[in-house]
């Protein structure tokens, strides 16, 4: 069975009956390995469409997932269950439950090491009978940039639950097993925030997701903030880690900031050294996020200003037909209409009319580095969304979310096409742009190949750059 992968979370969706006979066929070691190879940081088993399961059946999944967690630190768990299934799972695994339980897939995403912060942020209501679980849930949510509201009693929870519209999400029947050791990451606007805590020593190199960070630099993020309120102290390994990070960021014109760090138990000269290396210190997060001018200057307000001009390589140009074919085929599949190639040119990205257009981008890196950008007229974007959503929509968040999935599908296709020619690449998380101006400032001064395609009298732009 193949997992659905979105935002670094892989979810298996078995259907029907799950027992000791059927489970080994539903999920194999190969399935788990194939999913793991997609750079995911959470693997879940959805019970939404499972009508029956027993301990033998579940054990097969749980053992596979737990051994994956032990090997790689990936968060593993079960999701999408009702009250009855939750009670059964708890009965089966009352002791030693190392995996997590998330009532819904959306709740699971709130605990993923990396996530996109919602634009309409509300607080999250949290309830668990066990006080230590309750606190763990709230702390983990807080570390990921959410605002948890923790209920102290069931009656308080039931009363607050009645006002569901006040909360972004209501968390109950959820249990946190062993979470990953990866540093929590969230994307807010155009800045990426990492939450670090305790002692910053050699361990930080292992718990920091360098692949994610590098891919974020590749797709154009230029503001990285370390939320260091909970850091107690730092040793020389921590210092080296930040120095190296700063050097790498400089190549991309990116800024690295550390917020809320106290130097009471850390040598004071470390701060000077880090400042010399280019890191910027702030006392409060709001000093950056609420200061629009500063945010713009640091590169977290939309696009980024770059001095680095990156040229297309011959290898990249040679692979161009494959990229275009993958895009055209996927577009045709999603819109069920025929595409016509209208114009091909090597230049800076130029969009004749930016109004009523949206865009998405995805980077790839490895034996070949590059960035694919797709610019859609909103009408085509909506049409492409219909297949995935199953209905027409005008909701811009739904459209952008689907475009991210869409560009992910294209990148997946490109990856497999390149793989057939022994070119190994990894793909980054997709990024979407509601306003084309943000996209244009991100790719500012980067030349690339622009292909304009026609779909049912509308023009769609494909742009490939480094």
């Amino acid at each position: 069975m193949r997992a659905v992968v979105k935002n670094g979370i892989g979810v298996f969706h078995p259907q029907g009956f799950l027992d000791g006979t059927t489970a080994p066929a539903l999920l194999t070691i190969e399935d788990v390995k194939a999913t793991q190879s997609l750079n995911i940081n959470m693997i879940l088993l959805s019970l939404k469409k499972v009508v029956f399961f027993n301990k033998n059946g579940l054990d097969i999944f749980v053992k596979l997932l737990e051994s994956l967690h032990e090997r790689s630190g990936i968060i593993v768990g079960l999701c999408d269950y009702d009250e009855k299934k939750y009670a059964s799972i708890q009965k089966f695994y009352s002791v030693d439950m190392n995996f997590s339980l998330f009532r819904t897939e959306k709740i699971a995403s709130l605990f993923a090491p990396s996530m996109q912060e919602s634009t309409q942020k509300k607080s999250i209501l949290v309830w668990h009978e066990d006080p230590s679980q309750r606190s763990s849930l709230a702390i983990e949510l807080f570390d990921r940039g959410h605002t948890p509201v923790m209920c102290q009693s069931e009656s308080e929870f039931l009363q607050k639950k009645g006002q569901a519209d006040l909360y972004e999400e209501i968390i109950f029947n959820t249990y946190l097993g062993q979470l990953g050791s990866k540093i929590a990451t969230r994307v807010t606007g155009n800045a990426i925030i990492y939450t670090i805590a305790d002692f910053l020593d050699a361990q930080i190199v292992r718990s920091f997701d360098m692949t994610y960070h590098t891919s974020s630099l590749n797709v154009g993020f230029t503001l990285f903030i370390f939320d260091a309120y909970k850091v107690v102290s730092m040793n020389v390994h921590g210092l080296n880690f930040f120095s190296k990070l700063s050097t790498a960021a400089a190549e991309f014109g990116a800024n690295i900031c550390i917020v809320g760090m106290s130097f009471q138990k850390t040598p004071a000269n470390f701060k000077t050294e880090l400042e010399d290396a280019g890191l910027i210190f702030f006392e409060n997060m709001d000093d950056i996020l609420k200061d629009k001018e500063l945010l713009k200057e640091l590169g977290g307000s939309g696009g980024a200003t770059k001095n680095t001009k990156r040229a297309l390589t011959k290898v990249l140009v040679n692979e161009l037909p494959r990229f275009i074919n993958a895009t055209v085929n996927t577009m045709e599949m999603m819109t069920n209409s025929k595409a016509e190639k209208q114009e091909v040119k090597v230049d800076l990205l130029r969009i004749a009319q930016t109004k009523d257009k949206v865009a998405s981008s995805i980077g790839f890196y490895g034996e070949l580095n590059g960035l694919v950008i797709l610019v859609f007229p909103i009408t085509i974007a909506k049409k492409a969304c219909e297949l995935l959503l199953g209905e027409k929509t005008d909701n811009i968040e739904d459209i952008l979310d689907t475009l991210a999935e869409f560009v992910n599908i294209i990148a997946g296709r490109v990856k497999s096409l390149l793989g057939e020619h022994n070119i190994r690449v990894d793909i980054t998380l997709p990024r979407t742009y509601e306003h084309i101006e943000d996209l244009l400032s991100t790719v500012d001064a980067r030349k690339g190949v622009q292909v304009n395609l026609g779909f049912e009298n509308e023009s769609f732009t494909f742009f490939l750059t480094r």
């Binding site: 069975m1 029907g16 939404k48 469409k49 992910n408």
Partner: protein, 268 residues
Amino acid sequence: MIKHEDIQAYIHTIPPSPVVLKKVLDWLDKGELTKAASEAAEDGALKLYLQNIVNKPIYGFKNDIKAVGQIFGVLGLAQAEQIIYNYMISLLAPARWELFTLSTKEFSQIQDNLGVMWKRILEHKQIKEKEIYSAISLLPAAIIVCEALFKSKKEEVSLLRSAKEIDYNTILKRLSGMDLFDLCAQIAAAWEMPEIISTIVLCSKGTNEETNEDIVELSKWMHLLFFYQLSQPSAVEAGLNDFIAFNIDYVEDIYEEFQEVVIDECAQ
């Protein structure tokens, strides 16, 4: 990916029902088992099919049965008709499966399992109409239609499904306005199957707005039975577990009864 014209083209490829089978079914319809058997015995392929099928352990007959008359005799009218329809549907199956990792034998096994369990359900519900026994025969046609329409789109669908939890049936419906069950109904119409067969099968997708409560009840059993079968290891390995969406809410109220009638019985 798949347009309405592709579906129309597929419908045109459905052959008319073979004359011999039509005659066999006519005799069965009139309750003439002996005449139906002698008509069936004229067709070598059908005779061989019946001999192979009926001597499988799942049918539970102690002795090897060779004569078609005997086969029809032990099966009875309702099950004989069901098996003839199974044979008709199997004629549409490809010689080589590409989308699903199935063989002729494995597909036939799915038909047999569904047929035997459906019979058990109908006996439990004390339903005697032989057309209703035959309704289950049409259901596996959904697998054949899916194979035919999607076998050349395997990679595209696989990519789509890696980003979104979406089944073949939903993809087809969103792209063309028709789904696999609608196409099964087209097959039933082309082969002049009794209308109740396609009505139950259409309703069994779990989304149909059928008002007849008896049909809805039967369709729930059929939906759950199909997913019970699609959860079996051989079906999972063939890639059939999630080719259509299971509507768990649709069958919630019959689940416990289903467990007693089908699962517990099978375990014995």
